[in-house]
Amino acid sequence: MKLLRNYINKIKPNFEKGGKFEMFHSTFDAIETFLYVPNTVTISKGAHIRDTMDMKRSMIVVFIALIPSLLFGMWNIGHWHFLAFGEDASFWMKFGFGFLKVLPLLVVSYVVGLGIEIFFAQKRRHEVNEGYFVSGFLIPLIVPVDTPLWMLAIAVVFAVILGKEVFGGTGMNILNPALTVRAFLFFAYPGWMSGDSVWIAGMMKKGNEVIDGFSGATPLAEAAAGNIGNMPSKLDMFLGVIPGSVGETSVLAILIGAVILIWTGIGSWKIIVSMIGGGLIMGLVLNLFAANPYMELPAWEHMLLGGFAFGAVFMATDPVTATQTEKGKWIYGFLTGVLAILIRVLNPAYPEGVMLAILLMNVFAPLIDHYVVGANIKRRLKRVKVKS
């Protein structure tokens, strides 16, 4: 470790102003601050305390929180693939198959996304932002495993440039970049993003025959079709042994991630709790009407279905696109939960409403903050006594 530090210190002058490689300063800086906590210290003026917990370090916590979902997702992909084609496979075969399926998605997401980030950072003479580290990791987890890589690449280009860089890069984006990727794919290539065969690796390929009686439909699709009886057991849905996008099936793995995020204080528990609360209340309201079997589905089961848990823990809590005020977080999370279930159950065109609900609330987050801050100012102004 010491060796690396010394080496970096040795080559550092080359990248500073006037050095040989000055134009690659952004790239160098990105690598250096990724490896080591930057040595900037608080100046003697002012009362700020500088923590070692900079943005890169906090991103890495999210990274770690996502790993259970990723590992489980890899196994799950293999599991369903071999199940669909009637082959027996050991645990490691399933995991290995899934690993090889998910790895290209990860690589494409990172190479394309980071490439654009670095390009813009160099061009604008900024530091390379660490914002894409988490987005790039999230993207493969929320798309169907068989998404063609070129489609993913185009979606990443779209999301990073039009969803993020035009607004000024990390920290300035209105929409969650990972969900923008998914929304782009969903509207641009609907055939690859919904249906009964996109969730199982290999099922989209022509000529591949699944065994008789196998259906790749997700529990969500079964519920939407009113076949409540066809849904897998609650335990399977909780553990995540169901078809779905790579990383979102297992509520258990997501919960592990949630614990890490809440414990370290990086994800806002208020958003998670209020989003689940919003979803439950909307579910109960629908239960009151109970016009069809889907509306009769117990509210708490909605939490196990589709991307609700994943969205609540990893997407809605994105610190950039969520509300910033504490009161705003309650409102934002609650409305996201309500909208997610509302879209999911009542709009037949969109089988899953979590993505659209979060994107929609991302847009409204600044407005919520605006009114929360305004209300606070008004409340405190009442206490002001004007001396006459």
Binding site: W150, V166, Y189
Partner: protein, 215 residues
């Protein structure tokens, strides 16, 4: 007696070319966006729309310019509207007679040319205070500037959205589908027109930094 200004003096030429570039009605003045979203999913209606607007705008510009000294200021908007409406009806009838299919595709948007902000804008800002010939050039220039953007947007949306150009399946002929390419369904949806216009605005402002608005 004063020398007559040549028909295509540099000042008059500017009227024609400025709207194509640094004074573009869509990308710089940000007018007429609504129709740019509505009819650019394919190239053909975009081009027909362009010609319709060229005719409507240049003729009404000339008419208003001829009448400019006789229009009482208080009712000028009504007079302008009447002129534009008559022109729109003429164009609409012409399209129905000679290009029925396209007219069907454009549906209400031909009639809605009357609400195109570019047209009223030019009548108010230019034709009311200028002679007929410059007004005519100004009308053609602005309509063409509008048309250029429509055609660019229409080109990308039809090419990437349906894999065709003027309805001719160019992507299929090139054999791109065989290597796994698929049409992008998002390009046909209206929001994408807005984004393509946004990208054009971005590119234009990156080339000419003077166009960037002050914050």
């Amino acid at each position: 007696m004063k020398d007559r200004e040549p028909l295509f003096s540099s000042k008059n030429l500017k009227l024609l070319t400025n709207p194509l570039n640094d004074d573009n009605p869509i990308t710089v003045q940000v007018l007429g966006i609504c129709s740019a979203l509505a009819i650019t999913a394919k190239l053909e209606p975009a081009i027909v729309m362009t010609f319709s607007v060229v005719v409507v705008l240049s003729v009404s510009n000339v008419v208003i310019s001829l009448l400019r000294n006789y229009i009482p200021p208080r009712i000028r908007i009504i007079v302008q509207l009447t002129v534009v409406a008559s022109m729109v009806i003429l164009v609409d009838q012409f399209l129905k007679a000679f290009a029925y299919d396209v007219s069907k595709q454009l549906s209400v948007f031909v009639g809605l040319i009357i609400t195109n902000c570019i047209i009223m804008g030019r009548l108010e800002a230019f034709a009311m205070t200028n002679k007929p010939w410059p007004s005519f050039l100004d009308g053609i220039g602005n309509a063409a500037g509008y048309g250029v953007i429509l055609v660019i947007v229409g080109f990308f949306r039809e090419l990437l959205g349906s894999g065709e150009l003027f309805g001719w399946p160019i992507m299929e002929k090139l054999g791109i589908y065989n290597i796994g390419y698929e049409d992008n369904g998002l390009m046909i949806l209206p929001p994408m027109a807005l984004m393509v216009v946004g990208v054009i605005i971005w590119v234009q402002r990156a080339k000419n930094r003077e166009l960037i608005e002050d914050k």
